[in-house]
């Protein structure tokens, strides 16, 4: 399996090249779901519950239906009878979730009825005419109360608010804690935030009565989306056609509008005309079911005098909200990097997912890894502070060493490759760490609160399914393949076909670059299109930082099949062995005889038109499909709960310098460096862009963004006035320092990078803030560390 990669030998990979996608976006020619004009389309608006928990007594729709331009009002009674519940990942069949509530509502914002009208404005008018009578019932908002017996149950049929709990022990944990000289415990809290793309979720559907096919266009990023939509709609899979040639205006994990899609698909089929639902911002924030992890970590760590880490206990309580799709799995993915980049031989992990009367949680960039990294990195800093050691020294002492790779961690995953010390050193050099220390200390002497934060974090990538059977034994999924078709037409032009939509990751650039690299043809001339879901290109969508590895691997595999065919045609016609054919730039010649040569055009013409010149056994036409299986995949968890989950592991080292204004408590990130190793970068501009963006997103999670709830169950932050996204004024200039340790498991030595930056930024920023607060003996371990939280911490310490 291992291969030796020399990035210098690549022709297109790793080079500064423009992307294929950018020109259509800068000229306003993107094609997002809201841009798709279906003739006669009608619009949906939604009635949302004002109560976090209530019984629905009655719904009066007459006035709404009487409004001119209104075509239909759908309630849960009809909808739940005619569709099946949405898929749930964990084993909790009684936590049934439908697009519309029936009989009871379980969070403020839950959809109770859908109006279909000629325009969105009329649909909204009609929403206001629908009278719903509710009988409020007790609710639970605090996850620590929800987890205890005796309080309100979000789903009484489930018997408990706990929807997932596991107790994993890997290695001699109690022994490590008994022997270690030092032990520390701390609680850190990751706030409820999300990726909040600037485009809300949208979906349009049209029932083709002649073909008996439901066509769907959606701003989607979701594995198994067509299958799940078909299943809930009680349609065979081949009666649902999802069009993936829709540009998605950002996702970073959350664009999983399965609930919206089943609703709109049902309406389109039921009513016989196209229907669309484009969320407005409040629907998105409150009822779009897209909140991210909301997690309380109780950490315990055992360590020696010299900072050597001996054992770690992580108890994580995640508030998944009122329903669960895949969200509890976000406690499972971090198992694949549960010790971070450190040599920790003994780990206890107790993940618990609890239901509350809040908007449901959905997959968010990193799938639970960013909160886990934050918890581990705060723990490391607390160890350093306890021992009065330099936090960098504690990290250096415990980081896995270059020569130890491949490195098997206690929970069963093997890290493929890395040089963590080198990346950290590069980041420290780039920021001029000695000078930074002086800057901080000078600032402190001048009366400022100033701090330096470090984090060294892993980015598991190549997205595989191993956490599913680990958390749900009834799920024996072991593959998350991806695929690509490459075809060369009679004109000699190349087309790559992929089977999923993209939300900014530049997959057309990825596919064309890889095909161009293998076939030695200019990537700019290669077109990349997207098969719809009936055209049989298996994909598990761009989740888990997987596409450079998986789609890149599939595109390379298909291109290699084409290249092999061309070489066979050349050998047959040049009357030489396959081994003696020299392939260059798409042309073929006999090695050592450059005059005995066939051009690309000649080879293509034979493949398409001249079967008499084809070697026996080779299909005419030039088209090849390759389905790529996740490297290291294919195994179920062992009896001791060890499992290889993701194949590849990128690494990031953040160094950030923060100053907090003594009068206003406003934090300013003055310097930011991120050392990053994701193996071979296929398109560096794309990798850097995603890393900058991930850091900006991490700044939001660390300092600004929170879906906060009142005690009576109302979302307080349903607008961009309350849910604060970092702007160019809050995000500083960032320096990324690249390092390249190729993966031995992938086609070109590439690893993933779609979650880069976000997986380490919140940890580093929290460490920087706490370093700044240390001189006043304050500490904040709850994210986001808001301006207000800082103000209060500073006031408290100033009090006599």
């Amino acid at each position: 399996m291992s291969n030796v990669i020399d990035p210098q030998t690549f022709r297109y990979i790793g080079k500064k090249r423009r992307t294929k996608e950018d020109p259509r976006f800068v000229t306003g020619h993107g094609r997002y779901v809201a841009d798709i004009a279906l003739a006669g389309v009608k619009h949906v608006a939604l009635v949302a519950s004002p109560h976090p928990s209530a019984r629905i007594v009655s719904i009066k729709t007459e006035a709404a239906l009487a409004l001119r331009g209104v075509h239909y009002v759908l309630t849960g009674e009809e909808f739940c009878a005619e569709t099946d519940a949405l898929a749930i990942g964990v084993d909790a069949p009684n936590v049934a979730r439908y697009s519309l509530a029936k009989d009871v509502v379980r969070y403020a914002g839950e959809w109770v009825a859908a109006v279909v009208a000629d325009t969105r404005a009329i649909a909204e008018d009609a929403v206001e005419l629908i009278e719903v009578e509710y009988e409020p019932t007790p609710h639970v908002i605090d996850p620590e109360k929800a987890v205890k017996d005796g309080g309100p149950l979000v789903h009484p049929a489930h018997g408990s608010n706990v929807i997932l709990q596991k107790h994993f022990t890997w290695g001699p944990v109690e022994d490590a804690f008994a022997r270690a000289k030092h032990k520390l415990s701390l609680r850190v809290i990751w706030g409820r935030s999300s990726t909040v793309p600037i485009e809300t979720f949208g979906v349009a559907a049209q029932w083709d009565a002649g073909q008996q096919i439901l066509d769907i266009w959606a701003s989607i990023q979701m594995p198994k989306f067509p299958d799940q939509a078909a299943r809930s709609l009680r349609l065979p899979g081949n009666a649902v056609r999802v069009h993936f040639d829709v540009d998605v205006g950002g996702s970073y994990g959350v664009k999983r509008g399965i609930k919206h899609t089943v609703l709109v698909g049902y309406l389109a089929k039921r009513l016989g005309f196209p229907v669309r639902l484009i969320e407005d911002r409040l629907e998105n924030m409150r009822g779009g079911d897209m909140h991210g992890p909301d997690r309380i970590f109780d950490m315990q760590v055992a360590f020696d005098d010299d900072g050597t880490l001996r054992g770690l206990k992580i108890h994580a309580l995640d508030d998944v909200g009122a329903y669960a799709g895949r969200s509890p799995f976000q406690l499972g993915k971090p198992v694949t990097a549960i010790c971070g980049p450190y040599r920790i031989a003994a780990i206890e992990y107790v993940p618990t997912a609890v239901l509350t009367n809040k908007t449901p949680e959905e997959a968010v960039r990193g799938f639970g890894q960013a909160p886990t990294n934050f918890a581990i990195e705060r723990t490391i800093d607390c160890v350093a502070r306890h021992l009065k050691m330099d936090p960098i020294e504690v990290r250096r002492r415990n980081l896995i060493r270059k020569e130890e790779f491949p490195y098997l961690i206690p929970s069963g995953s093997t890290y493929d490759s890395g040089d963590y010390h080198a990346v950290l050193d590069k980041a420290l050099a780039a920021i001029d760490y000695p000078a930074l220390l002086k800057q901080r200390d000078d600032a402190r002497r001048a009366g400022k609160l100033a701090g330096i934060g470090i984090s060294t974090c892993l980015e598991p990538n190549g997205g595989n399914s191993g956490f599913e059977p680990l958390l749900n034994p009834k799920n024996d999924s072991t593959t998350w393949m991806d695929s690509c078709v490459v075809r060369v037409d009679l004109s000699g032009a190349i087309t790559g076909v992929m089977g999923t939509s993209s939300s900014g990751q530049g997959h057309e650039t990825l596919v064309s670059t890889v095909i161009g690299e293998v076939l030695e043809r200019e990537p700019a001339d290669i077109r990349v299109v997207r098969a719809d879901s009936l055209q049989a290109l298996p994909s598990n969508s761009p989740v888990g930082s997987r596409m450079a590895i998986m789609l890149g691997g599939a595109a390379a595999g298909a291109a290699r099949k084409i290249k092999d065919t061309l070489i066979e045609i050349a050998a047959h016609n040049l009357k030489c062995t396959i081994e003696s054919v020299e392939y260059r730039d798409g042309n073929a010649s006999v090695r050592g005889h450059p005059d005995q040569r066939m051009t690309w055009d000649e080879l293509i013409a034979i493949a398409h038109r001249k079967i008499h010149q084809m070697p026996p056994g080779i299909e005419p036409g030039l088209q090849a499909k390759f389905v790529f299986e996740v490297p290291t995949g294919g195994k179920l968890p062992a009896a001791d709960n060890t499992v290889q989950i993701y194949p590849c592991y990128s690494f990031e080292a953040h160094v950030v310098y923060v100053e907090i204004d003594a009068d206003t408590a406003a934090p300013t990130l003055r310097k930011y460096v991120c050392g990053h190793d994701c193996g071979v970068m296929i398109t560096p501009d794309i990798v850097h862009g995603m890393t900058y963006g991930g850091i900006a997103h991490g700044i939001g999670a660390a300092l600004y963004e929170k879906f906060s709830y009142t005690a009576d169950g109302q979302l307080e932050s349903g607008t961009f006035m309350d849910y604060l996204l970092p702007s160019a004024m809050e995000v500083p200039t960032i320096t990324i320092v690249d390092h390249c340790t190729p993966s031995p498991l992938t086609t070109f030595g590439q690893k993933g990078s779609g979650e880069a930056g976000y997986l380490g930024a919140p940890a580093a920023i929290a460490n920087a803030i706490n370093d700044a607060l240390a001189p006043i003996n304050a500490r904040i371990d709850t994210l986001p560390i808001t301006h207000d939280a800082l103000w209060r911490a500073m006031q408290n310490t100033k009090a006599p």
Binding site: R18, T19, D22, P23, F25, V26, T27, G28, H29, G30, Y32, A34, D35, A37, L67, R68, A121, D125, T195, V196, P197, I198, E199, T200, D247, V248, G249, G250, S251, Y252, I278, D280, R281, S503, G504, Q505, G506, D685, I686, H688, G689, M690, T691, Y692, G693, G694, I695, A696, H697, T719, F720, M721, L725, S727, A728, M729, V731, T733, I734, G757
Partner: protein, 163 residues
């Protein structure tokens, strides 16, 4: 209840358009749904994200916060109007491609309008001026860095062209 429609005439990207619209129709909905200029995007509909930015008589405005009838008789420039006459990307748009100043492309139209407005008045903006100019436009993909680079790049190219 049938809504009263009002005639509006807009000069959009140098072309006169007429439409009959309800009073409550926002300018962005008019541009997108009536005129089918879908390059301008809707992000928040409450004036924060800036995705719907367009130029109105030479000033950047939020087209979600304005009614189409208020724009009657005015000149609007959208992202489609920033191209060269042949439809190829203009210098600012091309600079966004050169520096990969976008990923999903959704906020890009508004970013381009904000940057275009800046470059109308400041020929060689500093990083700080660029960040302030795009400070009212939210992007979730890029962390803004390559956008700042692209605007600087465009300013330099426009400066060379102007010499």
């Amino acid at each position: 209840m049938s809504e009263t429609l009002y005639p509006v005439t807009l000069e959009v990207n140098g072309v006169l358009h007429t439409a009959r619209v309800p009073a409550r129709l926002s300018l962005v909905d008019c541009l997108r749904d009536e005129l089918r200029l879908t390059g301008t995007h809707i992000g928040c509909e409450h004036g924060i994200c800036g995705a719907c930015s367009v130029m109105l008589d030479g000033e950047p405005v939020r087209s979600c916060l304005m009614f189409a009838v208020q724009a009657d008789g005015h000149k609007v420039t959208t992202v489609e109007g920033l191209t060269n006459a042949d439809g190829t990307p203009g210098i600012l748009q091309d600079s966004f491609c050169e520096k990969h100043a976008l990923q999903c492309g959704y906020c890009t139209s508004g970013m381009l309008i904000a940057a275009h407005a800046l470059l109308q008045t400041v020929k060689r903006p500093t990083d700080e001026q660029i960040r302030e100019a795009i400070g009212g436009n939210l992007c979730r993909c890029t962390g803004y860095q390559q956008i700042v680079d692209a605007v600087k790049h465009a300013a330099a190219r426009l400066g060379e062209k102007g010499r």
